[in-house]
């Protein structure tokens, strides 16, 4: 039983991690928490469900279109909503992402509908038995996608010009501008990446947990919690945060109390923040006077 609970917790944690990475990438470059991110995840799942259930499209084209649509959505969110805002007015920017989130929810409700949908899993069959425990195939896809994504991000951030530029912007906006790196371009790329990752997370998650226009907030909060737990701005932190969150929830539900599983995991989060106010892997910005 313990083995299965840990395995389930880690796979759910992988989902939270996928969502958290989207928060963290936008935060690194734009320094705001994108409250619309949960809605990107929702949109990915909804569009995938719509294409496959209503139009009978095969899995992978439908997934590709759903993810593509999320990238475009994310780009629009940045260009129409945030691009021209005062960079230092964080709270106004956060409110815009909140408004955009509500807008996306409204759009999904109108164009796709209000039904709860379970689109098909990426591959048939399953679950896979792993030494006394089982894991659904779709969860393997999720874990695999997380691994591929982390590898891809690492390559992007450390081995490409674009990625290095984003890293520079995340460390120091001003200096990056002096070096000829455009914070705006980095922001565009960050948002597109967030759309890509969020959309992918949505399509991966929907066959397991359903797609519904109202799920964005729930998913967003879990992802945000994971990102904060690990330390905002660090993709590795997002993964660690996600896995810890998923594991805590699962172990609490299995051994302590399912009623208080969210409460226990959030108390743990608070406790960690009180000891490390910058999150587990986050770097503390030095104070300068």
């Amino acid at each position: 039983m313990l083995y299965q609970i840990i395995l389930s917790g880690l796979t759910v944690g992988a989902i939270y991690a996928l969502i958290a990475i989207g928060f963290t990438i936008v935060f690194s470059t734009v320094r705001i928490v994108n409250f619309a991110h949960g809605e990107f995840v929702m949109a990915g799942g909804m569009i995938y469900a719509y294409l496959s259930a209503v139009h009978g499209m095969p899995v992978f084209p439908a997934v590709a279109i759903a993810i593509g649509a999320c990238v475009v959505l994310a780009l629009l969110v940045y260009e129409l909503g945030l691009a021209s805002m005062d960079k230092d007015n964080h709270i106004a920017q956060v409110m815009i992402t909140l408004g955009v989130g509500i807008t996306l929810k409204g759009l999904a409700q109108i164009f796709i509908g209000k039904d709860t949908q379970f689109p098909p899993a990426f591959s048939a069959g399953g679950p896979l038995a792993v030494g006394g425990a089982t894991i659904p195939y779709q969860m393997l896809w999720i874990v695999g996608a997380l691994a591929v994504l982390m590898l891809g991000l690492y390559m992007l951030l450390h081995h490409t010009r674009v990625g290095k530029g984003m890293m520079a912007v995340s460390i120091n906006h001003y200096a990056a501008t002096l070096m000829g790196i455009s914070p705006r371009r980095s922001a565009v790329i960050a948002f597109m990446l967030a759309g890509l990752i969020g959309g992918a997370a949505g399509t991966l998650l929907a066959p397991v947990a359903s797609a519904h226009y109202d799920n964005g907030i729930f998913l967003g909060i879990k992802g945000f919690a994971a990102a904060i737990l690990g330390g905002l701005g660090s993709p590795l932190g997002a993964v660690v945060g996600g896995l810890i969150l998923g594991l805590t929830e699962s172990v609490t539900a299995g051994y302590i109390s399912s009623v208080y599983k969210d409460a226990v995991s959030l108390v743990l989060l608070l406790a960690i923040l009180l000891i490390r106010p910058q999150g587990l892997i986050g770097k503390r910005l030095p104070q300068k006077f």
């Binding site: 909503g81 408004g99 509500i102 409204g106 909060i221 608070l270 106010p277 999150g279 006077f289």
Partner: protein, 317 residues
Amino acid sequence: MTLTSDRKLTIALLVALPVAAALTDNAFYKAVLVFGMINAVAAVGLCLMLGFAGQISLGQAAFYGLGAYGTTLMASRFGVEPVLAIAAGALLSMAVGWSISRPLSRLHDHYLAMATLAFGIIMFIVFANARSLTGGLDPGTSIAKFSIMGRDLSSMNQLFWVVWVGLVLAAFVAGNIASNQIGRSLLAVKMSAAAAASVGIDVVRAKAFVFAIGALLTGLSGGLYAYFARSFNATSFGIGYSIELLMMVVLGSLSRVSGAIVGAFIITVLPVVFENFEDYKTLTFGVTMVIIMKYMPSGLVDGILGLPGRLSRRAKA
């Protein structure tokens, strides 16, 4: 002294409310006004925390709930006079606000946002499951009609005045804070904690104070809500309300007490107006919010007054 212009606007709003109420016999419009004022009391609390001291709270609904449940418990279990029950609920909320402020004072920005969000969710779970105290999510709890010294004051007209007095009190205290050294200390903590400390302001104590007063006002609002709703359950105190409060404060104007009141009415009234759009109401609401924040990033009050940015109020001092 430096906030006289906003004080005038606040007073104008407070006076306009009874006038508006007198113009209609429609109990629904009155109920909207009353609910707007209840929200405004809570928003004024958050305005002090976020607008003045820069302490974001995404767990404000917890204080709202503490006020509502505290009031209900005092009134229903111990037969306490309603006004005193509301005071007790507000004080309970204040005590909790004060006691969480110390550990939270180490956190900043997004981390504080998450921590308060977590606090809000935890409290919601407690409200939903401490059934012997709260009645949980279903069937919830209920409270007797509002009265003073045995005199029934539960009609919408009478409740209007009760809640109005609550709002006037909240605005009076918040307006005073905004225009004296307490408000300046809070602003100082928000703008530079280091500099605030360097002029002798105890930053931790200032944060504790603002959490306490913010929780007190939001708790007061919760107590008023209990008498307004009479029957309610834990769903009223979820994250949704915390986010709505945040919208009220930011949409109105972060740096003004009047902004919180205006924002509260916008967030109370807009959904009622958009109700007629049926399926399009969520979309309309979202788009409206984006447009307001994009074109009036300092909030509607500053935007409409056409003054440049959040400091405009000071230019006239």
